[in-house]
Point group: C3
């Protein structure tokens, strides 16, 4: 494979403001020598850009950018709004957000602002404008990152102050009348009906759980705030920095806002990939201690892969990376890993060293799932403040750390850009997530746990997957899987029906599909609401199983955590429950091209999916534990995520390793 | 057995305000066709009764009541004070209660009021009067429920606002002088002595644990508030709705107030019975995961039975159900199950489907423990708001759910009304509960855990039990068991002594009996205080055992969590400790008809109780695991709570089933 | 051994204000008859000393002191400032401290004051002066205890109010300029730079973790407040009570302030020893359930021994007990156990009875570790308030409890005073503790856990240990062990280097040694900072291991929780890692007399220490599990902490027993 063809490029995150200026040239040279293309800077540097109100200091940043430029590095600049400085906060303490316990979240770390604060919005625009005016057309500047990790540390929602003040207005705009709101929320239920818009508060500190419709609208409202906040920055950057891309670095399994809405308007999406911390800290319920120990040094392939596929699909059908290249990409808009773990992290209960080979494996996997750029966090480990225990490519003492060697050993030419040839779409929906987790009904299961179970089953069958919006265009897919899309508005139901009936799509749904109305209620006619005809069945019973209580399914399966059964109205049962309250009732049903799996059983999910995929002509493989295949641009990345040798396709892969093969 | 003799009747909870009016007639017809007699309505409907301050809207409720009336259903109406509407709260935010962390508990669910709020008291009286004036003499109205589930969601106490303001006055009335209060609380202990009534606050947010006497009086004060709050409603209902009963629906294991005091003045008591949620969520410490899994689909027979027997005994010696019948009942004042689970609940960490047969079994058990009416919650599953995942007799789509079929299959004539022939009284005391759990000393044991252990031992021996106040008249009982009555005032001691010495009662006490004075201190002369002579012993040592640390007792027993020993002063030791710090010391002592069990060991408790019962002439049976006997009106209900066949009395009962036999 | 030689003396804590005055003479007589010398009184009696503002009532205390005096008991009086009375708090509510959640900590228990409150400081001086004027020269008064248990219940720091107001001034005094502070804290990291001193708040309620340098300085500031608070009392006591000692009773494993700084100026140190509660409640992470059950009735020998050795060493090199004796002691300044558990405690999740023999064993151990006086808590169990479940030497009913008999059986003459002949110093540092636990990086390991692991290894080898400040004079020691001294300023590094190079000291360091700068950052040149040359190595990698994930070390060892490796620059590797990311890298290194153990493995630590000790000429013994040796004044205390017989030195010790032998 030719090295000159478009291929994966690398970058790093660097913090010139953290080190003496005499290190800048050496660092930039080191970055260039390691083969990096991009360097992201300044996302937390507001106090240096504007040390005192209105007094800008660009001199240091000018010299820093020049240092990178001198080495031919392309700079990604950031709006520094994730860290408003002390002078701004103390002058306007109402910028601070409120937590769900009613407490003001204080200055002293980061993300200490309420997206609804008018005064913060004004300062956000002001600093963005000033920065973009200064660097918008600088030749070294490739593009922009807005803010940093929206929602991190539970900051997607503020439960008081500016957000509380803005909520009634948002509701008024949405509903027009209080009667409409009271009806949509079902407020009659506990005499929760409102007679004045100003009576309505955030859904916090209620005596017992708040109304899920109230929660759902507060999530939508908060998500809209983030979307609007970013849009103001994007508009300024478009105006003042023509030809540069604008992106944002999203978070692992972040659930606080609708990423599809917030991504709209960006050129491409990036996310921050920390596989070991993800497993230890962000893993959905049900990932047990044994699995966490087994994959402690690599992270779990499907947790990482899911996030890659999710972020690759965020802008599907919208925009594309045109700013940087000046021309339309030859493939689906790519994504970046803006922060890629390259050593231990510092924020999980345990923070083990990655296995030998893990940094390379993560990089290769990112590429194979569609990343065009992987940017390592960070160049040199910080010697100060909250993250001194976090690794970088260089150690505290500036010697190359373990990850540095792995990056140096990568053959970038073996990672060509191009399409991920997924024929399976996994449908994802933030509103369903919000409702599902507000009323999980079975504490051991969550939206993410249920969704990842289906994803992991698909990956264990060697299948490439696009994770896309539940409202995405499904043309071109052979199979769509909706693991937990519990909120299905009429328009969505119609779209799915058209794809199945018109385009020959095969659809597989998990339990609780289409259980909810857009308002967060249940359908008066019961599940599956407007989807009932397509499914050919209606809900019969649903069962929430405590850990240790299982419900058998014919064929030797055992449902855990959840089991639901159906009345057939056209569909046929392919599997039935055995024993217990659901004895003899349908557990899996098929209505032509539509299959619903009511029992949560990893083995059952996998077997049903294999069957559907084969009928759809999608080839499957029964992969050994810890081995994964990912395809891109006509080649296949074979990955061994385990600490042992694993044989596949006639060859043996060593522990924590990968191969790019012509076919998989 | 004749169907025309008085027998169990059924009801349901219905919410006409939750559904379109065109469903009302059909629902009432369905209820009648299912054989229901009663329908409870409107306990959360304040916002519909009074949409705006002072503007009443009765039209809808008139029509709803007529719809039931047309089908011959008898209506139980509720005062809607559990859900004050938004306009009232926003006009008077000081109605809101405060939690123990000092936070205001917000509007947006239910029970958001402080019982001490004068303004809320005024509105409570106003809406009660208005409702009672409208419907007090309506021919369909059988009676009234006050408010709903006092204490639910930890609302029995408010730790700020109106309650905090009222507390000093209550104390002044009780103690007269601060010297008396300081002495009663032992405030000298940590210089906690008060010099002004207004210095005294609720026992919250103290640097370390507050004074238990302070806690005890705050519990008494809060309990009095609930009693007085309800009494105001009861007085109005008596005035305006002559001939109708007044009741309240109490909660599973609710501990926040003195139920004996609050029940006084009601015609009879009702409670809300959710066996699976009870096991998963309300089970006392010590009920392990294995037991929770084993009984996940039925609940545990003794946890349910205990609550039945507790609520049956709440009004023992006071009042009776005369309002509805117009004549004195032929037996102990009955009770109702006002809300009976008939499918899955939605509020526990796991919410499994009941087993086939469970709804029938629960209904039969309720009857056999003295219920005259069982009313299912709810008619149709809610399609909106907080409880959409809770079942009803009808599903969301109005089809009959699993419970509906079980109810339809009941032979009500086989459940005759009549006496529960209990010869054993289990003595219960809320003040002991408050003190015990404020200073449990052994985190694995609680008042309820200790009490239920004795109850369960009795039930496993096939014995019927009355749970009664520790101050109840014990005439007629052969045996009284006081598992955890740690607070024994002189009057109580005298009453017990008289019953033992005068009436031939046998008394069995658990550990910590009579350890505390009425003020919450310990007796200066040590345990058993004023009971020492009757017991013929004094405390020697008490031992708090961590889980895993056991203290052996001669005869092959092992104490868990708690072991105490005694110095004999007339009593004899029937069991002694072996090994450990208590080696050779008395573990169980007997002084004529009085027995004290110092070691917490389920096997030992059971064996000692069997022995005492046999001496008292109370027949016992060693029941198989999960089989229970309950007697009423001359017949015996044999219950199999397990998922397997169980043989008893020469016949085999199928899984989760019951039989009414002429003798047990 | 002659009984007339100086030997251990005993005391108790008594509360005349808790009992009727007619008991006082009898109690004092009983104390004398039990052989007690000292009685501590009045530490919580402010509300009785000053019932109303400015109105002192000394009459009762006069009579109480006389009652002790009449029996020849020596009285230890206390300043009552741990319990400011209600009238003071309600007049000045700003005295109350704030917790880390922003809540005011309320009146109603104890320690409800902020050390920074100017008004409380004034009242502290006033009551101290009044008390000292009254009793300063009373012949019965032997000395004084300041306040009570600084820091108990998390009170070392207040996160608002007076402390928050005082913090900026302390910072200004320390740093002079904001530039210096911003640099020292590394505030540039997340734009946390301050432009005004008043912008700085306590490190609480931040959106995510605060800056560790901010935390470190807040801990120093709070520690200084305690030091200064006490110094004001000490100055008054010195002035008004000449010839009497002044001390304070410190807490088990209390971490909230620098005990070396606070102890400075006292005559000697005392601490409060509760072995069973210590194991159940204060044990560092890693002490598992099995160990807690095994030692439930004795506590763990090394947890107790560590605290003895820590408090013995607190004043090493400063002051001494001269006030009481009038002459210089013949040995290292002794310490007291001011409160010694003599039965069950009441404040742990489980509170078991001590084993037979435990009270004697604890007393003997205290003596052997250097205690000159052991004072039992308390004379009679309280019959009122928070501690009614706590034992005393007398029961509630005034009969002698189990501990009383053990105390009566002690042969005090067998416990001569004299030196503890430790040749090994364990280095301890509160600033390292604060930093370590702010960023543990491995949740299963803490500063105390790591430190106690080294201590316990030494004790298991039969070696006596001085726990001393990391800045102590190390002259005279053969070996110094620094388990977790992560903060090593240049002066400290120089001192260690001089002791090693000049005095022939052997030094053993644990992982993370010298990782941090005095400001709480990491060294730009990496670990070991200024110690690098002495160690002959630099950090290579560090690994945080989740429970269940181990890292093998050659020789059959397995690191848990932590593993770090080194680049050699003069040192040699004595042990290397096997497998995993550290495969082949040095795990233990030696550079002449300096050894660093990078792997946290109890077996490895023990083996390396044994080797170093033997090379240093310190004799070791491989003690059986639960057997311990402690030497003092030329004799050896052999202790069996287990419930079984254990053979040692040719003789068998019964369960929970000790022997004083001429040699060990």
């Amino acid at each position: 494979m030719s090295d000159s063809a478009p291929h994966l490029r690398l970058g790093t995150c660097d913090y010139p403001e953290h080190v003496p200026e005499d290190r800048w040239a050496a660092y930039a040279r080191g970055q260039r020598e390691l083969g990096l293309t991009f360097v992201r800077v300044a996302e937390f540097a507001w106090s240096r850009m504007e040390p005192r109100p209105g007094e800008y200091d660009w001199a240091w940043l000018d010299r820093a950018v020049e240092a990178y430029h001198a080495q031919g590095l392309r700079v990604v600049l950031c709006t520094p709004t994730a860290t408003p400085p002390a002078w701004l906060i103390r002058a306007h303490p109402d910028i601070l957000p409120h937590d769900a316990q009613g407490r003001v979240r204080e200055f002293g770390s980061r993300r200490h602002y309420d997206f609804a604060s008018p005064v913060f919005r004004e300062h956000s625009r002001r600093i963005t404008r000033a920065l973009a005016e200064r660097y918008g057309e600088h030749p070294a500047v490739a593009g922009w990152q807005t803010d940093n990790e929206f929602g991190c540390h539970g900051t997607a929602r503020s439960y008081g102050g500016a957000s509380a003040a803005a909520f009634p207005g948002w509701l008024r705009q949405k509903y027009g009348t209080l009667d409409a709101l009271n009806e949509a929320w079902g407020n009659v239920f506990w005499s929760m009906e409102y007679g004045d818009w100003e009576e309505i508060r955030p859904p916090a500190l209620t005596v017992t759980e708040p109304n899920p419709s109230h929660v759902l609208d507060y999530a939508r409202f908060s998500s809209d705030l983030i979307r609007d906040f970013q849009a103001e920055q994007v508009a300024l950057l478009r105006e003042l920095s023509p030809g540069r891309f604008v992106t944002h670095n999203f978070m692992i399994f972040e659930s606080g806002f609708d990423h599809y809405a917030v991504a709209r308007g960006l050129d491409f999406v990036t996310w921050d990939n920390y596989p070991t911390g993800m497993l230890e800290f962000f893993a959905p319920p049900g990932v047990g201690e044994a699995l966490k120990t087994r994959y402690a040094r690599t992270g779990h392939p499907d947790l990482v892969g899911f996030n890659h596929d999710l972020y690759r699909g965020l802008l599907k059908g919208h925009g594309g990376w045109e700013a940087e290249t000046g021309k339309t990409q030859p493939h689906t808009p790519g994504f970046w890993v803006m922060e890629q773990q390259c050593g231990q992290v510092n924020w999980a209960p345990a923070n083990p060293l990655p296995a030998d080979g893990a940094v390379g494996l993560w990089t290769a996997q990112a590429w194979a799932h569609g990343a065009d750029v992987v940017s390592y966090f960070r160049w040199r480990a910080a010697t100060m403040a909250q993250e001194v225990m976090h690794s970088g490519l260089l150690r505290h003492d500036e010697t190359p750390d373990r990850g540095h060697a792995e990056v140096a050993g990568l053959d970038l030419g073996s990672f060509p850009l191009g399409e991920v040839p997924a024929r399976v779409a996994l449908l994802h929906d933030y509103e369903s997530l919000w409702l599902y987790d507000q009323q999980p009904h079975s504490a051991a299961l969550s939206y993410w746990a249920q969704t990842v179970a289906y994803y992991s089953a698909l990956r264990s069958l060697g299948v490439d997957v696009d994770v896309v919006s539940a409202d995405a265009d499904l043309g071109g897919y052979a199979v769509a899987v909706a693991p937990a899309v519990t909120l299905v508005p009429p328009e969505r139901a119609a779209r799915w029906q058209a794809a199945v009936e018109g385009d020959g799509l095969r659809l597989v749904c998990g339990p609780r599909t289409a259980f909810r109305t857009p308002g967060g209620q249940t359908w008066a006619q019961g599940q599956f609401g407007r989807l009932s005809e397509l499914v050919g069945a209606r809900l019969l019973n649903y069962d929430s199983l405590r850990p240790g209580l299982e419900q058998a399914v014919g064929g030797g399966y055992a449902a855990q955590f959840w089991a639901e059964s159906y009345r057939l109205a056209g569909a046929q049962a392919t599997h039935r429950y055995q024993g217990g309250p659901l004895d003899g009732q349908p557990a899996v049903i098929r209505h032509g091209p539509v299959t619903v799996i009511g029992a949560h059983s990893e083995a059952l999910i996998r077997d049903v999916l294999r069957d559907v995929l084969e009928q759809a002509g999608v080839a499957t493989s029964d992969l050994p534990d810890g081995l994964r295949l990912s395809r891109r641009a006509g080649v296949t990345l074979v990955q061994n995520w385990t600490g042992e040798n694993v044989a596949w396709g006639g060859r043996t892969l060593g522990p924590v390793s990968f191969e790019v093969r012509a076919e998989g």
